[in-house]
């Protein structure tokens, strides 16, 4: 029987497939489905820029309009990946510029992007619309100016927490003089001052602007004028919120904010002064997203604000909110889906710790839609974790950071094994988990047994032995990203579960007991894994049994990369060669 759907029919059916996971599955069915799918894919996502060759990607997807790439491992966010490790955007930009000039959107995370890259983007893609750079570095405001001036159809320009060489605010004046098509503009991570007149004029000629995130240097006294020129904003990130205003200015600002009838998201609010909280009253009832994580306000003022935010779905706040404040959130913010509580840097030795596990318990009780949590806390208890798990079996993302390494349940002095067991047992849809506190191998046995949908797991200062890793690699069926630091496990589990690693995107291990010899064995055993040893000293000069400081293992069809710096050693597949450093940079 040789029945094939005509290409056109398949193409039409596939056009309803958005999720790349579905498209990936579909492309594996047979050759004709592979061909049809690849010709129709518009949005391409590459979770590890070294997993595949950019030219191959460019060739495979002729209709590509959007490219999303991720570079460095997640732990780079916490300075665990040395500078110069890699993650260069250039080869991708070059490949796309040559073959996919109709590319419209580029989103990069944790990559090194140079001004050269930005200039190439500006010069090569005539319909370029969207540039989102998250946690990227290597470029200056000159590169931004090139994008602003050349991409005439630019809709989104977002710099999220990037490390930019800020040469001044001139780049803002490079947008086209006639009306722009800007929909979102985020320069919140830049340091330098911008010229107010440039910004005001830009707003006046950007009628489609829906999202505006200013940097800290934009002072409070000019905010009112900016808002008057952009009353259609849906997302606003203010600049500094601490300059002194006279009563008339305050009243004008209050009015301007109340005119933002479509505003749903508010952020920035750097150094928010308590006396300005009433200014925000009018926007609170409409807000679905509020980022107070740079606002150094104390609990009573936070309560004042949050008690008015009944529609809030996403809240980021600092630990000044205290248990009391979170109780208010539990009472008032019934729509809450995501909560992040960040440490304010208060000394860990302080006696009067006002944010405890109780805060999270309250929110888990009161906010029935809560599904994503990031919570920094000094210490925790099993009882609290069990209660939280019982209250909220719908967690998809649970990241608890008990800031004291190896801290046991402070009431019982027991490890937090039972607490996390409750979490993974009850939260059947858990996709992402970060564990902390004192944990034995038992905790990881529980995770391996129960966390079947878990995709990403982060571990620090935990476990007793190899068993920990073995439980995880053999049990967690959906595991894609595993990152581990300072845990006492070694080679056996890694080698026994080598095959698992090819089903995952990546594994990061630092300050563990993995030996150089095991790395070699692993690499030779698994042809499609890059085993990168990140170490100041050439592994060759040390015995095979010596532990390696950092390893990063990831699956790839592109072979060992060619751009490693001196301190990164890709273990060669040929045992004779040992390690190679094919550095041509």
């Amino acid at each position: 029987m040789d029945r094939r759907f005509p290409f056109k029919v398949l193409e039409h059916i596939f056009s309803f497939l958005d999720a790349n996971e579905d498209r990936n599955s579909v492309s594996l069915v047979c050759k004709s489905w592979f061909e049809t799918e690849r010709r129709t894919r518009k949005r391409v996502f590459v979770g590890n820029c070294y997993a595949v060759n950019p030219l191959k990607v460019a060739r495979r997807f002729p209709k590509m309009r959007s490219l999303t790439l991720k570079g460095k491992p997640h732990f780079a966010d916490y300075n665990l990946v040395p500078d110069g490790w890699g993650g260069y955007a250039w080869p991708w930009i070059e490949a796309m510029a040559a073959r996919r000039p109709l590319l419209e959107e580029i989103r990069l995370k944790r990559m090194v992007v140079t001004d050269e890259c930005l200039e190439k983007i500006a010069a090569s893609f005539r319909d370029f619309k969207t540039l989102v750079l998250t946690s990227c570095e290597g470029f200056s405001t000159d590169g931004i100016a090139a994008i602003a001036s050349t991409c005439r159809k630019l809709r989104d320009l977002e710099l999220r927490e990037c490390n930019v060489d800020d040469l001044g605010g001139d780049w803002l004046s490079y947008f086209p003089e006639t009306s722009t098509s800007l929909v979102s503009l985020d320069f919140s991570c830049l340091d330098s001052e911008i010229k107010l007149s440039d910004l005001e004029r830009l707003l006046s000629r950007s009628p489609n602007l829906k999202s505006l995130k200013l940097n800290r240097s934009v002072t409070l006294d000019v905010l009112e004028g900016l808002l008057r020129r952009a009353p259609q904003l849906v997302e606003l990130g203010t600049g500094s919120f601490s300059d002194e205003l006279d009563p008339e200015e305050i009243s004008k600002l209050t009015k301007a904010l109340s005119e933002l009838k479509q505003l749903k998201s508010l952020s920035g609010l750097w150094d928010l002064l308590p006396e300005y909280i009433p200014v925000l009253y009018s926007v609170c009832p409409r807000l679905t997203s509020l980022n107070l994580s740079y606002a150094t306000v104390q609990m009573p003022d936070l309560v004042d604000l949050l008690s008015r935010c009944s529609k809030l779905q996403k809240l980021w706040v600092m630990d000044m909110i205290e248990d009391k404040g979170l109780k208010t959130v539990a009472l008032c913010c019934k729509e809450l889906r995501e909560l992040r509580v960040f440490p304010s840097g208060a000394d860990l030795d302080e006696e009067d710790v006002a944010l405890t596990e109780q805060g999270l318990v309250s929110v888990s009780e009161g906010c029935k839609k809560l599904e994503s949590v990031l919570y920094f806390c000094v210490q925790f208890t099993n009882a609290a974790l069990v209660t939280i798990a019982k209250n909220r079996p719908n967690f998809r993302c649970f990241r608890l950071c008990v800031m004291e390494p190896f801290a046991p349940d402070y009431r019982t002095q027991q490890p937090l094994d039972e607490g996390f067991k409750a979490i993974v047992e009850r939260c059947k849809d858990l996709r992402r988990l970060s564990v902390s506190g004192l944990l034995t191998d038992k905790a990881f046995e529980y995770i391996g047994v129960h966390a079947k949908k878990l995709r990403m797991l982060s571990i620090a200062f935990a476990g007793d032995s190899d068993l920990m890793l073995h439980h995880l690699l053999s049990g967690c069926e959906s595991l894609k990203k595993l990152e581990i630091r300072d845990c006492p496990f070694g080679d056996t589990a890694l080698l026994e579960n080598a095959a698992k690693l090819e089903t995952m995107r990546s594994l990061w291990m630092s300050s563990c007991f993995v030996s150089f010899g095991a790395c070699k064995q692993l690499s030779q055993k698994m042809p499609r894994l890059n085993v990168e040893v990140i170490d100041e000293h050439p592994p060759k000069t040390r015995p095979d049994s010596s532990p390696v400081e950092r390893i990063y293992i990831y699956r790839t069809v592109a072979g060992p990369r060619q751009d490693t710096p001196e301190f990164v050693w890709t273990i060669h597949k040929n045992p004779e060669v040992g390690v190679s450093r094919l550095s041509t940079r």
Binding site: P82, N163, D246, F342, C487, P488, H537
Partner: protein, 189 residues
């Protein structure tokens, strides 16, 4: 409480460990003389806070044990929070600025600036005036506006007379004086 120095192999590694950190960040990485890798050798004890090697620099309160990348907070966020910590310690970082003849006060954060020219530029922008040129012996010339500040002792000084760091730590508030009032101020230290 076990001292981490038990793991011999690791002591050697630690001595030669790479120093990490994105360029330009000051999140304490340069100040860490030792990076505590808290690997236990099968003992379930908390790591002893290693006080001997910690350099007490100008970072406000000495942290317990400096562990690289812990707690896991992004450098971007850490840098912003660090500034806040300094402010809340009341070291005079946020100061009020008034200008003679202007009806309103401003507040500025001195830690945002690295030297006098930056501060001057910011003040000029804020109050829409120009400050003239600073001469060490004669003070400001070329403008009727003169930036002055009140220091910790209650004395009114000319902005620029003392080294920047000293200024930042002793300035309580700023006042941009106008015209005749200025003559009363001494110049130079």
């Amino acid at each position: 409480m076990e001292n981490v120095g038990v793991c011999d192999e690791f002591v050697n590694l630690k001595a030669t460990e790479l120093r990490l950190g994105l360029p330009g960040t000051e999140d304490g990485c340069e100040e860490e003389k030792q990076k505590v890798s808290c690997i236990k050798s099968n003992k379930r004890a908390l790591p002893e806070p290693e006080k001997n090697n910690e350099s007490k620099t100008e970072t406000a309160s000495p942290p317990k044990a400096q562990i690289v990348g812990w707690p896991p907070v992004r450098s971007y966020r850490k840098n912003n929070i660090q500034t806040k910590k300094n402010e809340s310690e009341g070291q005079g970082m946020y100061v009020k600025v008034s200008m003679d003849g202007a009806p309103y006060l401003r507040k500025i954060d001195l830690t945002v600036y690295k030297q006098y020219p930056e501060l001057m530029k910011s003040l000029e922008n804020m109050f829409k005036f120009s400050v003239g040129e600073y001469f060490e012996r004669e003070g400001y010339k070329g403008s009727e506006f003169v930036p002055t500040y009140e220091d910790k002792d209650g004395d009114w000084m000319l902005v620029g007379d003392v080294p920047w760091e000293m200024f930042v730590s002793s300035c309580k508030r700023l006042r941009i004086m106008k015209g005749s009032e200025v003559k009363g101020l001494g110049c130079g230290v």
